[in-house]
Amino acid sequence: MSQWSHRLRGVNRKMGIQMIISLSFTAVAVAGMFFIGMSLFLRFSAAAGELTADSGQRVLAQVNLNLDSYLRRMMRLSDTVYYGLIKNTDLEGEELNTGLDLLYEENLDRVVSIAVFDTSGDLVAGAPLNTLKEGCTPAAQSWFTAAQERIENFHFSVPHVQNLFEAQEASYHWVVSLSRQVELTKDGTTTDGVLLVDMSFDGIEQICKDVSLANGGYVYLIDSSGEIIYHPRQQLIYAGLSQENNRVAATYSDGAISEVFQDVTRQVTVKTVGYTGWKLVAVSPNGWETSGSQLLFFGISLLLFSAFLLAFVNSRLSAHISEPVRALEQAVKQLEAGAEEVSFDVGGSYEVKHLGHSIESMVSTMRHLMDDIIQQEDAKRRSELDVLQSQINPHFLYNTLDSVIWMTENGRTDEAVVMVSALARFFRISLSRGSSIIPLSDELEHARNYLTIQNMRYKNKFTSTIRQEPGTEGLYVLKLIVQPILENAIYYGVASADGDGEIDVHAFRKGKDLYIDVRDNGLGMPQEMVDQLLDEHRPAVTTKGSGIGLRNVHRRIQLTFGLDYGLEITSELDEGTTVRIHLPALDEGAAAPYRGEVTS
C-alpha cells in the first residue's frame, strides 16, 4: 500500500500542474458518472422488470376479462338452451331443433354447433347439423364423459377437431367443447342427457391473438394440466418446430414469476380463468441478453464520450490555470539569468495575477535592497580608505615633531623653521581640502617636502631627486601614495645602508598609464620578502619593517582603480629597491568622478 502511495507520489512529482488537474478532475468525474450510471442502470433494470411484470398483469387482466366475458356468454347460451329450451320441452311431442337453430343463428359467429345427446350418446337434437357421422360415438368422447362424471359443472375441453356431424363437404372444425349434464323430459319422465356447445376455436384465438407484450412477448392459454388451448405458434408447436414451457406453467400460481426456458430468461405472468381452471400465461422475454447489453454498451459509450469531453475541457481549463504559472516560472528564470526588463504580467486567474504582482514587487524590493547594499559597501570602502590614509600621519608627525624639538633644543632654529615650513606644506597637501585625488605635481611636491623633512632628520644621509617627465603635467593621482614608499625607502633602504643614500622619484607616462618609480640604493631585499610585501593574506604585522605602508598604498590604488593597478616592487640585495606605482593617466576630466566620489 505504502509502495503504491510512494509510486503515486513519484508520478505526481513528475507530472505538471496541467496533467494533475486534468487527470484528477477527469478521474473523479468519470468515477462519479460510473457509479451514478451503474446505480441508474440497476435501478432501471429493476424498474423494467417491475414494469414488464406489471404490463403482463395488466394485459392478462384485460385478456382475462375478454375471455371471461366470452366464456360467460357461452355459458349463458348453454343456460338458455337448457333452462329456456330443454327444460320446457317434452321430447315426446316436441322437438328442440327449431329452438336450437334459432339460438345457433344468434351465435353464429362464435359457435360451431349446439347439440343435445341422451345418456347413451345418441343425438337428440342439433344445430346447424343434426346427422351424426357413421361410426361416430359421442359417448366415448371426453366432453361427454366429463359431463356425466361431474354433473353439476360446466366442462370446457381442450381444442380438438369436431368429430360428430355428417357434412356435405369435407370440413373439419377446431372447436372447444362446452358440455354439461342436462335433464331431458320425455313423456313426463326426466332422463339424463348432455348438452354440447361447440365453441369455435377462432373465438378464443381472436381474444388472445392480437395481444402484444414488451420484448416480443405473447399470451398463451392452457388448461389445468398444461395442454395448450391457444398459442400464437400453436401449429409450430404441434408440428414439433417450436416448444413451450406449458407443462411447467400449469404448476405456477397466479402472479409473476421468472423462468428460464431454452436458455432464455423470461418474465412469466399467470392468471387463472374463472370456471374453467384454464390459465392465461403472459410471456415477456427479459431481453437483457441483448437489450441490456446494448444498453450497457450505450452507457459505456456515453461514459467514454463524457470522459472525452471532460478530459478535453479539463485539459483546456488546467491549461488556462497552468500556462500563466508556467509563464511566471519562465519570467523568474529570465530574472535568474540576469535579465533587467522582465514582465510579470502573465494574465490568468486573479490568484496568478496577484502572484505575478507580488513577485514583481518582491523583485523591486530586492533591487532596492541590493542598491542599498552596494551603497553601504561603497561607504564601507571609503571608510576603509580613510582609515588607511589616516594610518600614515601619526608616525610621521610624531617623528617630525620629535626632530623639530630636537633641532630647537640644539639651537638649530633655522633648520627647525625649514622643517616646520616643510611640514606645514606637507600637511596642506595632505589635507587638499579633503580630496583624495590631487594633481601629480602636488603629490610630488608633497614627496619633496617629506624628503626635505626626512633629510633634515637623517642629517643629509641621503640625497634625493624628483623628476617629472613632460606629458605628466596636468595628470591627477591618488593622494599620499609616494610618501609611504619614500618612508620605506628611507627607513629600510638608505638609512640603514653605509655610504650616501640616493632616492630617486621619477614620474612618467606610458600611453594611458602613469608610472611613478621610487628607487633607492639601500640594502635591498631578498625576493621572498619582496613577494610577501604586497601579499594581502599575510598576517597583519605592525612591527617595523613589516611593509604595512606599501600594502596600504597598494590596496588603496586597487580599491580606487581596480586590480590592474597598484605597486610593483623589484629589489636586489645591496643594490637597492625600486617601487613602481602604476596608475591610470587621469586628466582633470577623468579624475573628476574620483574627486566627486570622495567629496560626495
Binding site: 369435407a170 401449429q235 409450430l236 464520450f305
Partner: protein, 321 residues
C-alpha cells in the same frame, strides 16, 4: 529552459494522445454493438415458391407453414403456379433465377429437368427443394425419406392383405422424383413379401373421366405415392363405387375426408406445415449466407380409426394461428 519546454511539449503530446485514445474508444463503443448485436430488422428476402402442379387446397398447409416462416424470418414469398409439366416448371425456374430473386423453393416435378436448368445457370440464388433432390444442385432438401415412406406403406399393405395379392402401383412421378422413389421402395418390399406387383403410368392418378374401372379389376390393392394423385384416385374410386383398398402418401383435408369415408385405407402422413416452414426457413438462411442442411420429416401411417387421435388431429388438421 529548453528541457522545461520539452517537458511541456511532452505533456501536451500526452494529453493529445490521451484524448485521441478516448475518442477512438467512444467510436469503438458506438460501432461495436452494431456488430455484436446485429439489428433484428434484417433485409427482406425475396423467395420464389414453385410447388409444381399444385392445387390450392392440397398445399394449403404447406403454404401456411411457408407464410409463418416468412413472417418469422422476414421474407417475401412469391407463389408461382406453373402449368402442367416439368418443362413449364423448368422455364419458370429459369425465369425466376434470372429475375434476381434471393432464393427459390421448388417441388420438382422432374428433378432431372430442374437439374438441367440449374446446370446452365452460372451464378444463381440458393435453391431449396421439397421432397426431391436435384442431383446435388439444391442447397437443402426438405422432405421425408421417400424409400422409408414407400417401405412403410408396403408393410402396411402386407399386414392387411394376404401374400400373393395383386397390388397395382400407380406411377405418378418421373424417375428421380419422390413419388417414383417411394413407389420403387414399395415395389421392392412387396415383391420381397410375395405380392404380385403391377404398375401403370398415371401422372395425376386415376381419373374417372378418362380411365375405366377395368383398369383396376385385376388388382386387389391400389397404391398411389403422390398426395394429389391419391386424392384424385380416391375420388375416382368413389365415383366408380369401387371399394378397392387404397393406400397412399400425403395428406390433405380432402384425403382425410375420403379416408373417413373408407375410400382410402391408410396413408403415410407428415406435416406439410412443417415442410413448408422448414423449406422457407432454409431458403432464407441460405439467402443470408448462413449454413443450412437437409431436413428429414417424420411421417406416420394413419388409418381411419386413428384420425381423431389428438396427435393425428394436429398432423392432419392444422389450427390457424
Amino acid at each position: 529552459m529548453k528541457k522545461r519546454a520539452q517537458k511541456g511539449d511532452t505533456g501536451f503530446l500526452r494529453t493529445g494522445i490521451f484524448l485521441l485514445l478516448l475518442g477512438a474508444m467512444v467510436f469503438l463503443s458506438l460501432t461495436l454493438p452494431e456488430n455484436v448485436f446485429p439489428s433484428r430488422d434484417q433485409e427482406l428476402v425475396e423467395v420464389s415458391v414453385l410447388l409444381g402442379d399444385w392445387d390450392g387446397a392440397l398445399w394449403s398447409n404447406t403454404r401456411s407453414g411457408m407464410d409463418q416462416a416468412a413472417e418469422d424470418l422476414g421474407a417475401e414469398l412469391r407463389y408461382l403456379s406453373p402449368a402442367q409439366g416439368a418443362e413449364e416448371q423448368g422455364d419458370m425456374l429459369l425465369r425466376e433465377l434470372e429475375s434476381g430473386v434471393d432464393a427459390v423453393v421448388i417441388r420438382p416435378t422432374d428433378p432431372a429437368e430442374v437439374a438441367d436448368v440449374l446446370t446452365t445457370e452460372g451464378s444463381m440464388p440458393p435453391v431449396v427443394t421439397l421432397e426431391s433432390t436435384v442431383e446435388g444442385w439444391e442447397r437443402a432438401c426438405v422432405g421425408t425419406d421417400a424409400e422409408l415412406v414407400g417401405r412403410a406403406l408396403a408393410e402396411t399393405v402386407c399386414q392387411n392383405h394376404a401374400k400373393g395379392s395383386t397390388v397395382l402401383l400407380i406411377r405418378t412421378g418421373v424417375e428421380g422424383s419422390a413419388a417414383a422413389r417411394r413407389l420403387k421402395a414399395a415395389e421392392e418390399r412387396l415383391v420381397q413379401e410375395g405380392f404380385t406387383v403391377m404398375t401403370c403410368w398415371k401422372p395425376g392418378g386415376l381419373d374417372a373421366r378418362t380411365d375405366e374401372l377395368s383398369l383396376v379389376r385385376s388388382a386387389d390393392v391400389l397404391m398411389v405415392f403422390d398426395p394429389g394423385a391419391l386424392e384424385q384416385t380416391a375420388q375416382t374410386l368413389r365415383t366408380w363405387g369401387c371399394g378397392l383398398p387404397l393406400y397412399g402418401a400425403g395428406s390433405s383435408t380432402g384425403i382425410a375426408s375420403l379416408m373417413e369415408q373408407d375410400h382410402i385405407t391408410a396413408i403415410a402422413a407428415w406435416s406439410d406445415y412443417a415442410a413448408g416452414y422448414l423449406a422457407v426457413e432454409r431458403a432464407v438462411h441460405a439467402a443470408r449466407k448462413e449454413g443450412v442442411s437437409d431436413s428429414e420429416l417424420q411421417f406416420q401411417i394413419v388409418r381411419k380409426e386413428d384420425m381423431y387421435e389428438p396427435e393425428i388431429q394436429k398432423l392432419l388438421f392444422p389450427v390457424s394461428g
